[in-house]
């Protein structure tokens, strides 16, 4: 179902954090399918549709850079928020000065990708939903640079520029085959938010997520 779309995204920095190196962040080599889905959802999403990423084109050389930032160590406790909602008096603030955590990160530098994706209907699909409607909504929004929230490359602090691709695919500077190792594919929200991993191979800069998903590359 649905029409395929092609979106070019790029930015100065990106960090598709590996779950195993999440405290001292290390990025994956390329964008993950779930991060690509997140970008599409920032532009157009309704409960009636679900984006499925088919292919990812990596346009630029993979380059890393180190960064060290002052971040915060703790989260506001959910239990405290609940207490406050029940009318109790609790302190719900966070004092960043007292809760500093310095964290290093190995980020990607100067990235550009083309995301090829289509959408599928969910069980929220109503009578007034048609594939043409959602497709054209996406096209219009992407052409005009509209988004619900700023799309980002892995982390909120690394915003993504985007552009709808309606003509030829730009050429990738990457050649040859590259095993990317096991990467996060997506989170299974229906099953206790379990992470699912897949093992993509990049051929001449193209990662064929669709074929992997069909061929059992995703378990």
């Amino acid at each position: 179902m649905g029409y395929g779309i092609k979106l070019k995204v790029w930015g100065d920095y990106a960090c598709f954090t590996r779950p195993e190196m999440k405290a001292e962040r290390v990025s994956y080599d390329v964008i993950t399918p779930s991060a690509a889905r997140g970008i599409l959802e920032a532009i157009h999403w309704k409960p009636a549709i679900r984006w499925v990423v088919d292919r990812i084109h990596v346009l630029k050389e993979i380059r890393f850079e180190n960064f060290r930032r002052n971040e915060v160590g703790s989260k506001i406790s959910a239990a405290n928020v609940k207490k406050a909602m029940n009318g109790n008096t609790v302190a719900l603030y966070q004092s960043v000065e007292e809760d500093r955590q310095q964290r290093a990160a190995l980020l990607l530098r100067n990235v550009a990708y083309v995301i090829e994706a289509h959408f599928e209907a969910t069980d929220k699909w109503g009578e007034r939903d048609t594939p043409e409607k959602h497709y054209n909504m996406f096209l219009r929004r992407a052409r005009e640079g509209q988004c619900y929230h700023r799309p980002y490359l892995g982390c909120r602090e690394f915003p993504a520029q985007f552009e709808l691709l309606e003509g030829e695919l730009p050429a990738s500077s990457l050649r040859g085959e590259r095993d990317l190792g096991w990467m996060l594919w997506d989170i299974d929200y229906a099953d206790g938010m379990t992470p699912r991993f897949f093992r993509p191979t990049m051929r001449n800069g193209v990662i064929d997520v669709e074929r992997l998903a069909q061929g059992g590359g995703v378990r």
Binding site: R18, K22, A104, M193
Partner: protein, 591 residues
């Protein structure tokens, strides 16, 4: 990728029994004593396992059943623990705690050894069951009591049979069976192997990274709740199968403990290993990352890895390149396609952070290093002991106040190493730090001059040619008309004239004017030239020097008010080249 490569390394090493890599379920620990038990569970002897080196006890490292990461609670280790757990003797004035520890220790062994028919296991059980914790009644112990209380680990031996009890096959079997059962009930897809199975809750402690906690730091950790996502706790955030977690931990500890696969660069512990058995190639890469050993043929003092064959090979390759043979000789003994992993780890308190991660083939790594050394090459002073091929740590040292490692910018080691490995532009911070040090100390040594040259040369190659590129050579280029370069040469000449006229003065123009001359030439050069006229009047061979002045001044139309950072680099290079040429001129004439 990192964990995957480490786990592959672990699997490769465990396949070879002589590699020194601990087996599954085992890890290295420092042990001070072995308790020798009889088959009936009596304590016969106490064997010290430590050596005394310079009045300090150095414990022996043994492969023991994997130990638990301890914080404050009581958690016993299997068959290897300190005196509080093994004997119940108290060391910190808390007898109740020691008693509890001993009970937990006994409890653990009862559980693991349940139904195990092994002489060693039975001896340990009877020994533990019979003990009165907190009391020492065997006479031969009274002497050793204080030593036992120091808190070192103890292991068990069975009298009359070789090895330790924890190495007996049936004991190993029981232990591995127990650990498999103890594993967390959480299941998930392992992000290293992709298989479904039990997931490690805590990852092993990694020891041996300089500057990290001595008890060990974690590469994979979630020690603050802001690091956790989706309501998951600890390492459930990053599902890694238990055996993979302990495997990559063992591999990392092995690499960090090895002299062959590790080089310290600034604050970064740099580990490198080949994807398969390639010991000669590993030595060569080690020599290229840290070529300090090329200078001395004698074995290095602190027992650093040294492979004379690799050193010779590297020396030959670098010599070929210096002499203009640009093609790397293909050596039949070496496999240039073998893939190498290079990992830079730096400490951040209880965690480790990855500074860089690089995968490349042996052949292309060698080329990158050769390129680096070629860019860095510079004429050395006669008779000085300067490295022809400066190591990365040597370069970093030149950027630091007082040349101390702790003063090196924290990120510089990683970024410099990465630029060398990838063949990209050197970090701007390195160039700037070197300029700052030169201005502060008025001292340009060959390493600093080499960095300036290499930085400008690489930028010119990568970002397109720059003015004055022709001066970026090993030695003086008297054809270059780059104003910064000429001013640097002129300054060296002015200094020379002053030295000839007033030998042995306390503060030369270099001490007084170097900073200003390199940044704002227009403000000092007229003054310096006026003074030089007086100096020239005193010098014997003033005609030769005056000719030199004219030669350099001919290329200069005016004194620029400012020199930018690039031009300052040219200034310093010109100064260095001109100075070196004063000393080598004589040799040329003799020839």
């Amino acid at each position: 990728m990192i964990l995957q490569a480490l786990y592959d390394f672990y699997e490769r090493m465990t396949a070879d029994p002589g590699s020194g890599m601990p087996k599954t379920g085992y890890s290295k620990a420092k042990v001070f004593f072995a308790l020798n038990l009889s088959a009936s569970g009596d304590l016969l002897d106490l064997f010290p396992l430590y050596d005394v080196v310079k009045n300090k006890k150095v414990a022996r490292e043994l492969d023991v059943p994997e130990q638990i990461k301890r914080s404050s609670g009581i958690s016993p280790n299997f068959l290897c623990d300190n005196s509080a757990y093994v004997l119940g003797i108290d060391e910190k004035g808390k007898p109740e705690r020691a008693l509890k520890a001993f009970e937990a220790f006994l409890q653990l062994h009862e559980e693991v050894f349940a139904g195990v028919d092994d002489e060693g296991a039975q001896a340990v059980l009877t020994f533990l069951r019979r003990r009165k914790p907190g009391v020492i009644d065997e006479p031969q112990w009274s002497d050793a009591r204080n030593e036992l209380l120091e808190g070192g680990n103890l292991v068990f031996r069975l009298d009359g049979s070789p090895g330790y009890i924890h190495d007996r096959p049936s004991v190993q079997h029981a232990w591995i069976g127990y650990t498999a059962k103890r594993e967390s009930s959480e299941k998930g897809q392992c992000l290293v192997t992709g298989e479904w199975g039990p997931v490690a809750r805590l990852h092993p402690a990694i020891k041996g990274v300089w500057g990290a906690q001595t008890a060990g730091a974690s590469l994979v950790s979630f020690n603050k709740d802001s690091f956790e996502s989706y309501g998951k706790e600890q390492s459930i955030n990053s599902p890694v199968a238990s055996h993979v977690a302990s495997g990559y931990g063992a591999a990392l500890n092995y690499l960090l403990g090895s002299k062959r696969n590790k080089v310290q660069i600034g604050d970064t512990a740099t580990l490198f290993w080949a994807e398969r058995e390639a010991s000669v190639e590993e030595s060569i890469i080690g020599t290229l990352i840290d070529p300090a050993e090329l200078e001395d043929d004698e074995a290095p003092k602190d027992g650093r890895r040294y492979d004379p064959l690799a050193a010779e090979w590297v020396r030959q390759v670098l010599r070929d390149v210096r002499d203009g043979n640009h093609v790397l000789d293909q050596d039949a003994r070496l496999d240039s396609s073998v893939r190498f992993y290079i990992l830079g780890l730096s400490p951040n308190a209880a965690r480790l952070s990855v500074r860089f991660w690089h995968v490349d083939t042996f052949g292309s790594l060698v080329e990158r290093f050769v390129q680096h050394f070629r860019d860095m090459s510079i004429q050395l002073p006669v008779g000085g002991r300067w490295p022809e091929y400066p190591a990365i740590w040597r370069i970093l040292k030149e950027t630091a106040v007082q040349g101390e490692r702790k003063n090196v910018l924290p990120q510089l080691g990683g970024t410099l190493a990465r630029s060398i490995l990838l063949g990209t532009a050197y970090p701007q911070a390195l160039y700037q730090a070197i300029l700052v040090r030169i201005r502060a100390e008025h001292e340009i040594n060959p390493v600093r001059a080499g960095v300036i040259k290499a930085h400008l040369l690489r930028n010119a190659r990568i970002y397109g040619s720059i003015k004055g590129e022709e001066a970026l050579t090993m030695a003086l280029n008297d054809q270059s008309t780059h104003p910064g370069y000429l001013l640097g040469r002129l300054f060296a000449l002015l200094e020379k004239v002053q030295q000839e006229a007033l030998p042995g003065i306390n503060a030369t123009i270099r001490d007084r004017y170097f900073g200003a001359a390199s940044a704002t030439p227009a403000s000092v050069f007229p003054l310096l030239l006026r003074n030089a006229q007086h100096h020239l009047a005193k010098v014997e061979y003033s005609i030769y020097l005056e000719k030199k002045f004219q030669e350099i001044m001919a290329g200069l139309s005016e004194f620029p008010a400012h020199l930018n950072l690039n031009d300052q680099g040219f200034f310093m290079l010109g100064y260095y080249h001109q100075r070196q040429s004063f000393y080598t001129k004589k040799n040329d004439k003799e020839e």
